[in-house]
């Protein structure tokens, strides 16, 4: 695998940027790969648009901009119109099925996960819906090792939230059989 581009679109407060950081940290520090993570968001702390982009590569990343994502993760309806047209042909589209309804069939594979309702019912906290999606994504694509992702979670999230995030990530792994 040469270069994998991942784009994550959602709203502020969903952990969009954290998801990007976890993928980049796992790849760069624990999986022996190169990674670049970038981000943009509107000024509102919560509820505004948020976007994170990650490039994972075997070689040094020259162009740091995600152009045509191999993997597109959409966590809000608002992000569909903004980013769906960018996905690479035959790419993978992962959506939070509780929040994203308006996705039509296209030249991409859809990974539809009711992440928010699982997080709400089983974890009692919708804030870790992003980790459930990451778990499913890692299991499905084998983009990074589970161990690297778990190390990244342990070193990147606040101490008191490590268990919650690890549990959500592991629950995501179980979704894909």
């Amino acid at each position: 695998m040469g270069r994998t581009e991942i784009l994550i679109g959602g709203v502020g407060g969903q952990g969009v940027v954290l998801s990007g950081i976890l993928l980049g940290t796992a790849a760069s520090l624990y999986d022996g790969k190169q990674a670049v993570q970038t981000q943009s968001y509107s000024s509102e702390l919560r509820g505004g648009s948020a976007r994170a982009a990650v490039i994972i590569s075997e070689e040094r990343v020259t162009d740091p901009e995600v152009r045509r994502p191999d993997i597109l993760i959409l966590m809000a309806e608002d992000a569909v119109g903004r980013y769906l047209h960018k996905i690479k042909p035959r790419g993978l589209l992962a959506i939070d099925a509780d929040l994203v309804k308006g996705v039509s069939e296209g030249d991409y594979e859809i990974l539809s996960i009711p992440a928010t309702s699982i997080a709400d019912k089983e974890m009692n906290n919708i804030i870790v819906a992003n980790l459930i999606i990451l778990g499913a994504l890692i299991k499905k694509t084998k983009l990074l090792s589970v161990e690297s992702m778990e190390k990244a979670i342990e070193t990147s999230v606040p101490k008191k939230a490590i268990t919650l995030n690890l549990n959500a990530f592991r629950r995501g792994l179980e979704i894909i059989s």
């Binding site: 981000q39 943009s40 740091p64």
Partner: protein, 384 residues
């Protein structure tokens, strides 16, 4: 106190945090600023870390007082910096001119964002490139570095402090939201391996009336306060002793010329570029984050058999005209790439157009660095 200044190790680190770590490694003792996206992470990190190493961070009431505090700290002998974005620089410009006029070492970080005016805070553009050179009134030279990665946010901040101290002048780090908010591997070396420079100060006991503390093209020793020196520091036209002179045109001439020459005389040792244009007929000239898209496009073009090279300006100011000329003499086509509508382009064209065809390729969307595929299309267009 007791914390280490240099956090040696390998990290997946945000560019802005790497900048703050670079400042600490360079010996920064004082920083002042007013919060602004996309520069706030630098201020936050310095506010946390500086007090742990015996330094101080002041959050001021605005950007004007921030740069004023930095100038004051520098005259008290401290290595000092401020961090902001374009709107903050606009407010600081008068005092930046003051810092240049009285030869104050300091580092000014501009994490550029979508502009004009308050624009778009988290989108990086290279919109303030000429502002750094010409924003304040009068003729002056400035030094400005353009990092393209979190690693360079660290490395270039160290260089910026060293240049500021060595040439006794404000030095700009012209980053942008894209690079400032970018995370990538950052390796912080061991403290002993990081070269740091401290300004020259006069011999203790020097008679202040006999001390030439200003306007030396080879950089006068700085009569900082709190070390027993006395000095007259005035923004008005002054002589080598710092004495005001508001009537003799020859004094003004020296004031203007020597301040500029202090930088220009040392341009060769200040200038940093990356040249990769051996045998290239088409050369892509760029700086900052855009240079990474340029490198990607050049490598793809070479795979297709088109002789494309790159010239990357690391220091955009003082303008490295000699480097542009040297490159243009060997090239047939020069393509300039910036994440703006062509700010440094006229300067590059002025040096290169005598020897080669020069054109500009803006990004398709200002705020998103050029797509290597668009660059390749442009390369194919000019190579016909």
């Amino acid at each position: 106190m007791g914390e280490k200044r240099v956090r040696t190790g390998r990290y997946f680190m945000m560019g802005n945090v790497a900048c703050a770590e670079g400042a600490l490694a360079a010996g920064c003792e004082f920083a002042a600023g007013y919060p602004i996206t996309p520069a706030t992470e630098i201020a936050n990190h310095l506010a946390e870390k500086l007090p742990q190493v015996g330094g101080a961070f002041f959050q001021m009431e605005d950007e004007i007082s921030s740069i004023a505090a930095v100038i004051g700290a520098s005259w008290a002998g401290k290595k000092a910096m401020t961090v902001t974005s374009g709107p903050g620089i606009s407010l600081m410009l008068e005092n930046i001119g003051f810092a240049i006029g009285v030869e104050t070492p300091c580092v000014i970080v501009n994490v550029q964002r979508g502009a004009p005016t308050t624009g778009m805070p988290t989108i990086g553009i290279q919109g303030d490139m000429v502002q750094a050179k010409h924003g304040s009134h009068g003729d002056y030279e400035i030094i400005a570095l353009c990092p393209s990665s979190p690693q360079e946010m660290f490395d270039h901040t160290v260089i910026a402090f060293n240049y500021a101290e060595k040439y006794r002048t404000p030095v700009f780090l012209l980053s942008d939201a894209f690079v400032g908010h970018m995370r990538e591997e950052v390796v912080i070396p061991e403290a002993e391996k990081i070269e740091t420079v401290c300004r020259n100060i006069p011999e203790p006991g020097t008679d202040p009336l006999k001390m030439k503390g200003f306007l030396d093209e080879d950089v006068a020793p700085m009569p900082i306060f709190g070390k027993g020196f006395k000095a007259h520091v005035t923004s008005s036209c002054h002589d080598e002793y710092g004495k005001r002179n508001l009537i003799d045109i020859s004094a003004l001439d020296k004031f203007v010329r020597r301040l500029s020459n202090k930088i220009l005389k040392h341009k060769e040792e200040i200038t940093l570029v990356e040249r990769d244009y051996e045998d290239a007929e088409i050369v892509l000239v760029s700086y900052g984050g855009v240079s990474r898209a340029a490198a990607a496009a050049a490598s793809q073009a070479r795979k297709r058999g088109i002789p494309v090279g790159t010239l990357r300006l690391i220091t955009v100011w003082p303008f490295p005209g000699e480097e542009i000329e040297k490159m243009a003499r060997r090239a047939k086509q020069v393509i300039v790439l910036e994440n703006n509508l062509g700010q440094v382009y006229p300067y590059i064209k002025a040096e290169a157009a005598h020897f080669a065809e020069v054109s500009f390729l803006p990004p398709r969307l200002v705020g998103e660095i050029q797509d290597p595929e668009d660059i390749l299309r442009k390369i194919e267009e000019v190579s016909k």
